[in-house]
């Protein structure tokens, strides 16, 4: 199958995931929809175009791993895992309810398909680095993908991981940065600037690729490309809140929640 044949499926799944995540956030009146929506096309591309997995065997040793380091974006992660078949759709209705398996941040002991517990920022990349080292030690062929927010790159633990991954030439590791340029309260560049991110990662020993983080065909080409000799860093340029007009590029939608009118409006736009 040609890679681009997968694009219509990815587009369809990304739309379903956006509608599903916004419905979860609306019902719970809790969540992080801005970051969910900037990451949604990346997750849809991974789960429906790139990752080699079997939802019926979440512990399959040779599976590709996806680590959601921006653990607050559970609207995106849970809708992706559900669409990928890891758990039934009715579980989504319990999002953040008492004793729900769908906690505000993912827990691998609650849900199949969650590779590690995240939530505090700067944890996923080091863990993904360890997963990739395990693969390198054993000559395994699986690949490891980790998604961080861009504001999250301010956490120093990421740069510890970058040194280790570059030093060990972890070719089967791909770091994806959701570069929406907004963190919780303001822009990344006015808070503690990240640019030039590409030069930083090149200096740490990564192959760096920039991509439109909402272009499924482009994402598919970049994320699906075979491993080379170094770890890869994909800077995915995205729009926080992408797909809903009133959320796009508005920092307060980081953890904003919709009222009934906003929910109806979003559902009209997400078609």
């Amino acid at each position: 199958m040609l890679m681009n044949d997968k694009v219509p499926l990815i587009r369809e799944k990304a739309l379903w995931m956006r509608r599903t995540a916004f419905t979860m956030v609306h019902r719970a009146q809790l969540g992080h929809p801005g970051g969910d929506f900037s990451a949604m096309d990346i997750l849809a591309t991974l789960y429906f175009g790139v990752l080699n997995f079997d939802a019926k065997r979440p512990d399959w040793p040779d599976r590709d791993r996806f680590v959601m380091s921006k653990g607050h974006a559970t609207g995106a992660l849970y809708s992706a895992l559900c669409a990928a078949g890891y758990f039934p759709e009715d579980w989504l209705q319990t999002y953040m309810q008492p004793k729900s398996l769908l906690n505000g941040h993912p827990n691998r002991n609650y849900l199949p398909g969650v590779e590690t517990n995240t939530g505090p920022l700067g944890h996923g990349f080091p863990v993904a680095t360890g997963i990739a080292i395990a693969g390198q030690l054993t000559g395994a062929t699986y690949r490891t993908f980790v998604l961080t927010g861009d504001g999250e790159q301010q956490e120093g633990s990421n740069w510890e991981a970058a040194m280790v991954a570059g030093h060990r030439k972890l070719s089967h590791l791909t770091l994806i940065i959701d570069r929406n340029r907004l963190q919780q309260g303001a822009g990344t560049e006015e808070t503690s600037g990240l640019d030039p991110l590409d030069d930083k990662y090149r200096a740490f020993g990564f192959d760096v690729v920039e991509v439109d983080g909402h272009d499924h065909a482009a994402l598919l080409a970049v994320l699906g490309a075979a491993p080379a000799s170094k770890p890869r860093c994909v800077i995915a340029n995205t729009t926080k809140g992408k797909g809903v007009s009133f959320m796009e590029n508005v920092a307060s939608w980081h953890h904003g929640v919709p009222n009934a009118a906003q929910y109806d409006q979003a559902m009209k736009e997400l078609v």
Binding site: T118, T129, A134, L137
Partner: protein, 318 residues
Amino acid sequence: MATVTPTAAGLQDCRNAWVATLEQLAEADPRIVAVVNDSVGSSKLNSFQKKFADRLINVGIAEQVMVGVGAGLANGGRIPFVSAASCFITGRALEQVKADLAYANFNVKLVGQSSGVAYGELGATHHSIEDFAWLRPLTNLTVIVPADAWETAEAVKWAAQHDGPVYLRLSRMPVPDLDIPNRTFRPGKAEVVREGSDIAIIACGTTVHLAADAAEVLQAEGIHARVLNFSTINPLDEAALHRAAATGAIVTVEEASIRGGLGGAVAEFTSANQPVPVERVGFPGFLPTGSTDWLFQEYGLSPEGIAAAAHRALKRKA
């Protein structure tokens, strides 16, 4: 470097038992790997590195990624022993220990080296006396403090076959082998070092042999002290604590802060279940400059100091 008391005859550096056991286990099980933060020498892993070069993962001086990599290696089916000075592996990487190991419940073994005040004169930055208080509340994390070389080896073996996160708190301080016949290592269970019914002395790690010597001092005064080697700090052996409280008075002894550690755990338990006087021997907080031996003497981590604490507890006994 740090104070290391010369190894007198009959005393052992438990790190030798740790590395010898790890190498044996690694020979038999290719999944076992070691992760360090430039701490090959202080963890005594030079020989391991020679034998299993690719299975010694040195991430450099970077404790957060060291612990995170441990979790990732476990995800990838390895059994990592992550070894570094206790002060850094706990304090510097505490959130990784909490979230990546305990909360995620990954099969990772943390090995804290040179715990307590082993680094003596190097001061409070290098002392690890807060680690019990930091780690004891973490669900899923078994915390074990071996008291001698035999128990160190047994704890390493047990940790390797246990599916879950473990913190092994080791020391470089030379200690004698405990004189207990027919020993069996039972994680989560206190070991009776000596029977007695007047008072219970609950100790762990490097202080257990001092507690046993204190019991000798008390014996000469006609006081029969039960001595427990409480090598598992989390989870607590509640049955042993019930029996200890039944003596009517308790002394706790630890090479750690008296706030939130073994003494704190015993006080929590007794106040809720069986209130009895509890005297805690340990360190009050940041410590003045001094050698390990001097700090032990100064703060009563000695047979005489422990016996004096026993007298204080007995005076309060109903």
